[in-house]
């Protein structure tokens, strides 16, 4: 064991020594850039890196450069916790932005709470900020808000009997659970819940079963990846005959391409990021959204997505709080984060308070409808 111990110490001391010289602000991040959640973690990482460089090129924060320390947890929450400990104990970061999956964020929270380090989470789950935790904030929309947006629209259209068809991944599971918990408040009855596997290529059977339900007015599909596109095509094939709703997980260019003409008339709650160009010039978010789109498309050559937008908001919220605090002291930054008021981000306009660490309301989502292969704003 001895040589191993020596090796352990020698190798692990190296990064420790490197951080000794510090006239910079260290911001930590743990993201799932490999593993099943990598399609979320990768754009988050790219966004953080691009924006950290931009901030530094523009003179940094309070005259100091920021330096990001990004670790990949391989989508494993236990790894997230290990890296969270490393960021706090070893790298001695002043703040953390990250946590791709809800489970990853939840596993890390106790570490930051105990150390007193502000943590801006990038995951969707409502459990992260409900109940409110002193050091934890998050910009992303929650599943519950997506449900509320869909249900509000259903109610307005008088379609109060709905059925779910959902995938089996974490996103879909969480969404359905949250939707069930708030359905009553909007007077929506959920008549059935069908599910399909992650590699299923045909959901006609489930849709046919749903279609036969008496009194059903609308179908909601909760999933990310290719599932929503397949459901949309199948629904068109069997002539579903009632409105189909997707979740914000389908709010991607990929969905439009895969689903093709079958997507006509499909509605979903989407972030403003997708329809930035269609917004009126008076919309306060328009400039931020167009800027972000331009920066990321230039740097990566890929279209922007909601999840990269979360990383943008998380980092800039922190930087904004640091500027207002006039220092990078964790406690002062936390206090300023909580005082964030009217901050224009990609997810919406954020106003935090001691009882609300999410800071956005339903207006952050827009009800979108697919018209001629493009997103159109309904509301």
């Amino acid at each position: 064991m001895k040589p191993i111990r020596a090796l352990v110490c020698a190798v692990l001391m190296a990064p420790g020594l490197a951080t000794a010289a510090r006239s910079e602000i260290l911001i930590g991040s743990v993201l799932s850039t490999t593993g099943p959640a990598s399609f979320l973690g990768e754009p988050e990482k790219q966004t953080l890196e691009v924006y950290a460089k931009r901030i530094n090129d523009a003179g940094g924060v309070n005259g100091e450069k920021i330096r990001l320390i990004i670790y990949d947890d391989g989508s494993d929450a236990s790894n997230s916790r290990t890296f969270a400990t490393r960021l706090v104990e070893q790298d001695q970061v002043v703040a953390v932005v990250g946590g791709t999956g809800t489970g990853n964020s939840l596993a890390m929270i106790p570490v930051f709470e105990e150390a007193g380090i502000p943590f801006v989470s990038l995951s969707g789950g409502v459990d992260i900020i409900d109940p409110v935790r002193k050091w934890v904030f998050k910009p992303p929309h929650t599943d519950r808000m997506a449900c509320a947006k869909i249900f509000t629209d259903l109610k307005q259209r008088g379609l109060t009997n709905a059925a779910f068809i959902a995938g089996q991944g974490g996103y879909a599971k969480s969404m359905v659970t949250q939707c069930r918990s708030v359905a009553g408040q909007y007077g929506i009855k959920i008549l059935a819940e069908e599910s399909y596997g992650p590699r299923d290529s045909d959901m006609t059977a489930q849709l046919t079963r749903i279609k036969a339900l008496p009194g059903l007015k609308a179908v909601i599909n909760a999933d990310i990846g290719q599932g929503p596109a397949i459901v949309t095509r199948n629904a068109a094939q069997i002539n579903l005959g009632m409105p189909l709703y997707q979740s914000h997980g389908a709010a991607t260019q990929g969905y439009l391409e895969l689903a093709g003409p079958a997507a006509e008339g499909v509605r979903l709650p989407g972030p403003s990021l997708l329809v930035a160009e269609q917004l009126p010039d008076s919309d306060p978010q328009k400039k931020v959204l167009l800027d972000y789109t331009a920066v990321i498309e230039k740097a990566t050559g890929k279209p922007v997505g909601t999840f990269g937008g979360y990383a943008h908001d998380g980092l800039l919220l922190l930087v904004d709080a640091m500027k207002r605090a006039g220092s990078a002291d964790p406690a002062k930054v936390r206090d300023q984060l909580e005082k964030t008021k009217g901050y224009v981000a990609t997810v919406g306009i954020i106003t935090m308070s001691p009882t609300d660490h999410l800071g956005i309301d339903l207006s952050a989502f827009r009800m979108l409808e697919v018209k001629r292969g493009k997103w159109a704003v309904v509301d």
């Binding site: 352990v8 190798v11 692990l12 190296a14 990949d72 236990s78 916790r81 290990t82 490393r86 706090v88």
Partner: protein, 314 residues
């Protein structure tokens, strides 16, 4: 030298020295967390190594046992109102029973049927954990209540370091004891030749089953420790990749070597942390290091070094 290397209890004593020394040497609690993770993983691998190195059977589902221990400790207090300690112990016993049920019919066959059966078990456990949201919290996982032993609240790395370290030492002593008992001799006979062992009157299936159940219990204990240590558990804990990682740790350290199990766990827990500065190339470098080790030290690190040292001393 030869006598020290040949003493079956030597690895446990060597580890005891390390366990006492590490807290004095490391600069921050982060290293204690890493050491604790090494101990927890090593606990699984010591058990798995008994099965692979002595009973000659491969399990590709040890993460399932690991997860059963972990989720039992989480579900008991959250849904059944049981004390954490009681649900942890119940989970460990239950895992032993499941292993018995799976192993009993399978281990009567020769060959690698156990590998396939445990692979299936791993998939089933993984699906159940992911889908039974009401019980397990689904893919986002669930919080785990703190462990109380009497009035001692076992939490934080400083406590878990000692709990995991001492448990590992006890587990290694147990394994060494088992191996130097008549059971251990029977196991070695089975490993060399099942036919010959059977002719000598050894109940091959019974001994294999015994080792399989013991290794499952080790895994469940380790899983419970990880869940209680992290305070949060997700389905990744019981994923197929985790099972393969355990097998890799056992093979890397050396089949049939208890100390090798600890070393294998240490390498695969610490190396990814040490390689983070290589960013994108991290996984490629990790893979290359493992390949080189396995090519250069074919029987695993510890057995190869041991025979080299013994040759040098002779």
């Amino acid at each position: 030298m030869r006598r020290i290397l040949a003493n079956p209890y030597a690895p446990a004593f060597a580890l005891a020295v390390v366990v006492v020394m590490v807290p004095l040497l490391v600069p921050s609690p982060f290293y204690l967390r890493l050491a604790t993770l090494v101990f927890i993983n090593a606990l699984v691998v010591v058990g798995l190594n008994l099965l692979m190195g002595y009973a000659g059977q491969i399990s590709l589902g040890h993460a399932a046992f690991f997860a059963m221990g972990a989720y039992a400790s989480a579900i008991g207090p959250a849904h059944l109102g049981l004390p954490t300690l009681a649900s942890m112990l119940a989970g460990i016993v239950l895992t032993g029973v499941v292993a018995y049920g799976v192993g009993k019919p399978i281990l009567r066959f020769k060959g690698y049927h156990l590998a396939v059966a445990t692979l299936g078990l791993g998939v089933i456990v993984s699906i159940v954990i992911t889908n039974e949201i009401a019980w397990t919290g689904g893919p986002d996982g669930m919080q785990v209540a703190r462990l109380w032993i009497g009035s001692w609240r076992v939490s934080g790395v400083a406590n878990w370091y000692w709990v995991a370290g001492i448990t590992l030492i006890v587990a290694m002593l147990g394994a060494a004891n088992l191996l130097s008992s008549p059971t251990g001799r029977a196991l070695r006979a089975i490993h060399d030749s099942e036919v010959a062992a059977g002719v000598l009157g050894i109940d091959v299936a019974r001994y294999k089953l015994l080792v399989f159940v013991i290794s499952a219990i080790y895994a469940a204990t380790a899983g419970a420790f990880l869940a209680l240590f992290d305070g949060h558990v997700t389905p990744v804990t019981g994923g197929i990749l985790r099972s393969i990682e355990f097998v890799a740790m056992a093979v890397l350290g050396g089949l049939g070597s208890i100390l090798g199990s600890v070393l294998g766990a240490a390498v695969l827990v610490v190396l990814p942390q040490a390689l983070t500065s290589f960013h994108e190339f991290e996984h490629a470098i990790l893979g290359a290091i493992l390949m080189v080790l396995m090519i250069a030290l074919r029987r695993g690190v510890i057995p190869s070094l041991q025979s080299w040292l013994l040759r040098g001393a002779a």
